[in-house]
Amino acid sequence: KTRQFMRAFNEINLHFSEVFTKLSPGGISKMILENPAKPFEGGIVIEARPRGKKITSIESLSGGEKTLVALSFIFAVEHFQPSPFYVMDEIDAALDGPNVHRVSMVIKEFATSSQFIVISHREENIVNADKIYGVSMKDSITDVFSIKMEEMEVAPGDKSMEDM
């Protein structure tokens, strides 16, 4: 049982570092067993170090940095044991433009093997989608409709959506 756990832990750890470096270039992250000799008697601690910075507790990372760490963890688990679909509701809320773009590219990469349903207000994310659905209130009732990429000139949720 311990061997099974260690195999999962090591594989997820590998992917965790890989994905974090994609999202935070030059950054390093890893999961650490509190009790390496007896894994089940301790927990798993996360260490993440953006490029050039020294390790601080994960608590003192910024909102955007924490988002990247959390997403790296999710994608690492996805690699190990994919779910058929993923739902992500405004996961890019705390991210600056370049980070939204990097996250979006990673979603695109993993979307070749799993289905991703992503709610977002951020243009740098939406432009990478294979399919876009617009949602708006029509007579105060939710209406859902397909949007062609070519119709997406303005940042969505912006003026273009208000006109619909």
Partner: protein
């Protein structure tokens, strides 16, 4: 497998009518103004897959999930959400040749019903089918609005338990 379609009737802001959202494999983006109903789509998906925690669907009681009406429209008497999973790979034996259709309904008395391809069943039977696809209504594959940063605040024990449960 993947989700081919989600169908709403009387659920939250979808009105007392049938609203169908067809989905494809790959990367689908859902966009729109604040309050238009994007997260309600996700709540509907969670609801239909048997999620029990009403709080995570922003409802105090199951009845709050029923469309309350608008200035010009009457409330619905029940809320129903159906999710259709692709079965072209026969991931769900016993439904060979057709897609898996999971349905859940709640009426204004608070009474709930689950259906599998039209036939009434229990929530446990739904969960068993979903387990074949590695789907769990409370799974980590659902990152709900505002919840992504919380993931970094998981205690070390919970993180270890999470990986334990994967194997």
């Amino acid at each position: 497998t993947y989700i081919k379609e989600i169908i709403f009737k009387g659920f939250k802001s979808f009105g007392d009518q049938v609203v169908s959202v067809k989905l494809d494999k790959g990367f689908t983006a859902i966009i729109g103004p604040n309050g238009s109903g994007k997260s309600n789509i996700i709540d509907g998906l969670c609801f239909s897959l048997g999620r029990l925690s009403k709080k995570t669907m922003r409802a105090e009681n199951l009845k709050d999930l029923i469309f309350v009406g608008t200035k010009t429209k009457k409330p619905a008497s029940s809320a129903e959400v159906t999710v259709i999973f692709d079965n072209s790979q026969n991931l769900f034996p016993g439904f060979t040749g057709q897609d898996l259709m999971i349905s859940r309904e709640v009426n204004d008395k608070g009474k709930g019903t689950y259906r599998l391809n039209g036939t009434r069943c229990t929530r446990e039977e739904i969960l068993l089918k979903l387990a074949l696809a590695n789907v769990d209504p409370d799974g980590f594959n659902f990152i709900l609005q505002g919840k992504i940063v919380e993931l970094t605040h998981m205690s070390p024990e919970d993180r270890r338990i999470f990986i334990e449960e994967l194997v």
